[in-house]
Every structure is written in C-alpha cells, then in structure tokens.
Amino acid sequence: MKLRRVTIKNFKLLTDVEVSFSTSAEKPLTVIRAENGSGKTSLLYALLWAFYGTKDLGPSPGELRLSSTHWPPREPCEISVRVEFEATDYETYAGQERPTTTTYVLTRTVIETPGDGNVVTREREGLIVHAQSDQGADRLEDAAARALIRRLAPEEIKNIFFTDGDSVQRFITGELGPKARQAAVHEAVRALLGLDSLRTAVLDLEHARATFRKRLAAAPGAQALEEIQSKIDLATTSQAALTERETAARERHVNITEAIDKRDARLYELKDLGDRDKITKQRDVAKLALTTAEAQLEAQKRAQRDLMKNESICWTFIGSTLERGIGVLQGLADLNVIPGTAVEVLRDRIELGQCICGEGLEEGSARRQAVVALLQEQLRVEPNRQRLTGLLHSSRLLHDQHQQQELSGEGWLARLDEIETSRAGIERQIRDQAEALKECEEALRRLADTDINRLLDAQVRDRAKRDEFVTELAELALKIAEGKAELEQLEQRYEVAKAQVKVSQNLHDRVDVSDDLLRLVQKTMETLESEYLDRASERMNDLFMRIAGSTPEVPTAVFNEVRITQGYDIEVQSGGYGRTLDPDFEINGASKRALTLSFIWALMEVADVSAPRIIDTPLGMTSGGVKQRFVDLLTQPPSDHELQIVLLMTRSEVAGVEDLIDARAGMVETLSCSYQFPIDLVNDWGEAGPAVKACACTHRQSCHVCARLDDHAHKLIYREG
C-alpha cells in the first residue's frame, strides 16, 4: 500500500489541509516539514483515525476530542479525512509475478458537537471505501472495506506504520519489562511475516483433513484405517497437550528468570549499601561524635555568654571615653566643685567602722566625728553634684578592677574571636556527623526493610526451580520429538492402510490434497520462522551497524553485533569483549532509535511488506554522521521491493540532511500554524481562529505562509506563492 493524498477537514487544527505523498520508486521519501505545534502529530492522528477510527486513539473515546478546542460549544463540527492510496496485488502466471495496482479512496467522517467544558458528543462514524478503475469508482461493501484495511494495514501493527521516534523504542527499552518487550517484538515478527495467518491456515487445513479422514474411516472395510486414525488422533491430542505444556513451562521459565534477575538486582543494590554491622558501628561512632560536639558547642556558648557579661567588654567599647571622664570628674573634685567623697562611701565607712585609709572609726573617736562632719557637709551639697561624685568613685573602682584584671579590650576581642572560630568548627563537625548519622540510619532502615536472608533463600529456591524447568523443557522437547516420530510412523501406516480401502477415488483425492497442502503450509511456516527470521536479524544488524558507524573489526567499536534472539528479544553486544548491553542504561538515545527502526526496516524488507512508514520527529537526539547515515540508509530506494517513507520533520531535523532530502524526496511540503504569529511566524494570515495550513515550500524554501523569524539561520530562499 502507498498513500497518494490525504485531505483533512476540521480535524484538530487541520481545518482544511491537503497533503500529497511521493509514490515514486526512485524517490520514496516524503518530507512534511513542520515546527513544534504546527500539526505534525495531528496529521499522524488524522491518518490513524481514517484507517482505524477512534479506538486506541486517545485515553477513551469519550474523552477524545477530534475537533479543534477553539470550535464553539454546541455547534456541530463536520470532520472528515479522505485518504487516497494504491495497493498492488501480485498474481503468478507461468512462474512470473504479475502486479495489478488498484487505487482506493477511503473517507471517514463524523459530526462532533463540543459541549460545555471537555464534553463532546459524536454521531456514528461513517466509513466509505471506493475502488477506482477505468470504468469508474466502485463502492466496497462495509465488510469488504474492513477486510481491505485488515489486509493492507493490520491494526495490531499500526504503531509500526504510524509512529514517532520515541514510542517506536518500545521494542528495545524495558519500560514495560522484558516480557512485554519480547511480546512486542514477537507480535511484530508474527504480523509482518504473516505467521498468524499461516497458523490459522494450518488449523483450517487440519480441520479439513480430519473431516475427509473421518469420511474415509467410515467406509466399509476401513477398520484398520479407523484404528490407525484413532491412534493418530490420540497421538495428535497428546502432541498438542505436550506443546501446551512446553509453552506453559517456557513461560514459567521466563517468569522465574525475570524474578531471579529482579532479586539479583535488589541484592546487588543491598550489597552496595554495605554490611549491617559495619554500618551500625559507623552510626555509633557518628552518634558519639555528635554528642561530644554538641557538648563542646554548649561549653563554647556558655563561654561566649560569660564573655559578653564581662565588664571588660566596656573597655572594648567605652574604655578611652571613661578614662577621659574620670579625668574631668577628678578635676572637678580637685577644684571642690563636687565633693571628693561620695555620700554612699562615707555612710558605708561609718557603718563598717573603718575609714578608707584603714583606721578604725570607733564610736566617739575624733576620726569618726570628722567623717560624720564630712558626711553632713556633703549632704548639704546639691544632689546633682553628689551624683557626679558617685560616678567618679564607681568609675575609679571600675578602672582599678580593669587594671587589676589586666584584661584589655584587645584581649576581649581576641577571646571572642577564639570562641567564634571554635564554635564554627564545632558546628561544622555537628553538621557532618548529623549527615553521616542520617545516612547510616537510612542505610540501616533500608537494610531492615529487606530480609536479605529471605531474599537469598528465595533466590536459591527459584534457581533450583528454574533448573527444574530447564530439565522439564528438555524432557518435553524429547517427548515431542518422539511423538512426532510416532505420528510420522502412524501416517505411513495410514497411507498403506488407506490404499486398501475401497471408496471413491474422489474421497482419496480429497484426503491427499488436504495432506499435501497442510504439509506445504507447515513447511512454509517453518521456513519463515527460521530462515526468514535469521535474514531479518542479519539485515537489522547490517543496517544498525552502518548507521551507528560501528565496525566489529575495529577493537574500539562501541557495538559488536545486534540480533533477534530465538526468544524474540533484540540483543545488543558491545565491542571489545562482546558483552550484552542493557538497552535502558547502556545504549544512547540515537542508537535506540537507530536500532528499533533498523528492526522494523529489516523485518518489512524480509517480509516484503509494502506499507507506508510514517514517522513523526524521527531524528530527535541524532546529529552529525549518525544523522546522515540514518537518513541515507533508511531512505535508500530498494531494487527488489516497494518502499514509501513519510518523515514529519522540524527545521532542526532537516538541518544537515538537506542534500539527502534533495536526492531521495519525491515530495516535500510544509505545515504551519497561524497561532504562532507573531512570536515565530512572520505574517498574519488573517485567520479568525488558530488553523494549520499546508504550503508547497520545500525544505529549502519559505513563503508568505510559512516564513518564520529564524529562517535566516536555515538559509531559506523566499518563494512567491
């Protein structure tokens, strides 16, 4: 199948868009150039909708909106996608394949009415397919239309034909686990090689053969035949049961291997955490260090508080001013402007009975009377002067104390500095130890959550079970081989006995042809499953190694080999020692894309499937030589089969591969969206609401519709359109 043209009306922002595709054998590539938000993904969805309807297109059909979010509520929107495509059928006449190409026009329509908010209602979708011929267009019956789509683009592998650079990677990335990955690869292989159809044909032919054989066995004188037939039936049933057991055992083997691998990874992680005793010791050391440091910090805080309370702090801030003040007050005392001795001092002395000079002030003594007289005299002095005298005395006292302690302002500051330095050191130590303690406790908690011994026990148990499955699989394989040999023998006996049965030749013929055709289809299946799968594997390896620029002969090559295993897994071997690489963590983004697209390309080539490959944003994460080889190898026109590739690319993706597009693209068009004016687009198209438009600009051109502000960076030629 090759797409010729798609005409889209009111699908998302594609209000009226027509895109043509190259059907040329020499130039199989179509490039739709569109920046982010310019309708690439909507175009992909429109094609998916046209072929398959709303099923699997969104989260759920009820939540899916096909019309633009700008379509007014309660106004019916008529949506339609018309796809014109061609399909070639081959008939063999006298050993020569003769192609017949038919053009079809598929139109899917629906009326969607947006409600308030996110609710939309849709009428029943209409699907009409016309086959065009020289005589005109014939409308296909609904069942025939569905059958045609099923034959040309089966739904189960629609994501291979219509995909994007990210989601295509599900064949090799382990997001869904290895089982789902293998299932995806298996499904693609089965669908593309047509194995499911052949398997159904085998069942149908077996059914037909059984029907004819029953008739034969019912003929007179066919007791021996009937006996052999019942043995064949028994052996066939037994074979089917054995095959079923083998499938189940294989699945159990895969499951248990997956469980063992998961547990191994967990044990590895736990091992990485460390030994429990060692961590406990580390935790205790950290705890002790933390307690000690906290006590030290407390001591330093106390020392700092004491230092702040120390009077000598005054000398740091007001020492020189105080000394000047004492001098001024002393001068006033010397001039008798203020009393030489303070009232409080004289009272204290009298009460203590001792003079400042040290002599006693006993009751009635002349000295005591002199001091009392001095007190009386001082009390007569005005209060302000008395206060100044008091100030002089307290200042002197402070000065004396300061002299005695010999604690200068500089000393105080040095001590403060010493304490603060020590505090900072201790605080850092506390932070470090607290962190170490937290880490140890977290590690211990994680260790405590997992019972390592339980894990190890389960691992031993499951490994033994896996060994049992391996033995069981080997035994089953042997039994199946024996059963096959027995069946062959019975078939030979059947042939001999059949010749003895006297029935119409016509019944014999029927039995013979059903036998022959069954063997033919079985052999074809075996060929496809072995030889053709190997061919696909080899071709995938060839394509991938060339894109990645990895030559196994070079010892520094990153990759050595990629292959499709018997278990339908895509395996990547590294260069050097040829180790198996984990696709999730050991393969870069560009190589993942290259590998999965090489897989699809190889499989489609080998299966000789003619279906368009439409890839949205295919070249993300690729650059330089890899990008060049990527486009070069995947768009090469093949000599022996049909190819159509549609790449939906941004200008950045186009950059660097313009010459290849010149050579390989039979069609290049551009999509732009009006809402990008004036931020990115140069011109306002005068649209009432946001809409996507297609123009005929190639990857080297721009025009009134698609001109963008950064076009100068891409050296585009302006085209009058």
């Binding site: 050993g95 159809s197 289809v521 074809t524």
Partner: protein, 72 residues
C-alpha cells in the same frame, strides 16, 4: 494477509516438492488455492464459514487432481 507476497513466494517454491503424478502442470493451481485459503481469513470473521470455504477449495483442488488423472 499483510505478508502475502513473501509467504506466497515461499509456498510457490515449496510447491515444487509436491508429488509429480498428482500435481505436475497444476502447481500454480495449488498455490492459487492456498492463496484462497489465506484470503478466506480476510473475508470473514466466522471460523465455521472460513472452514467451509477451505473445504470448498480442497474439493475443487481434488476435482482438478481427478481431471488430471483422467486426462489422456
């Protein structure tokens, strides 16, 4: 069937191994019948209808084989 062309080619190649006295000169018919057997899957979803179609194709092939045998 999507991979019709390749499968049909292999069926055609393998058809060479069919016994001469039964199919010589009719191998292309055998391959055409097999194509019809495979096409039956695209024509209907019903197992019963499909199996009936396959029986019909085999009847027709048996008739061809008979006519070959009777041919002078």
């Amino acid at each position: 069937m999507l991979a019709h062309r390749q499968a049909m080619r292999i069926l055609g190649e393998n058809a060479v191994e069919l016994v001469d006295e039964r199919y010589d000169g009719y191998r292309a018919d055998v391959v055409r019948k097999l194509r019809a057997v495979l096409d039956a899957q695209a024509r209907t979803d019903s197992d019963v209808k499909r199996q009936a179609e396959v029986l019909g194709e085999l009847d027709a092939l048996a008739a061809l084989v008979a006519s070959k045998r009777q041919a002078p």
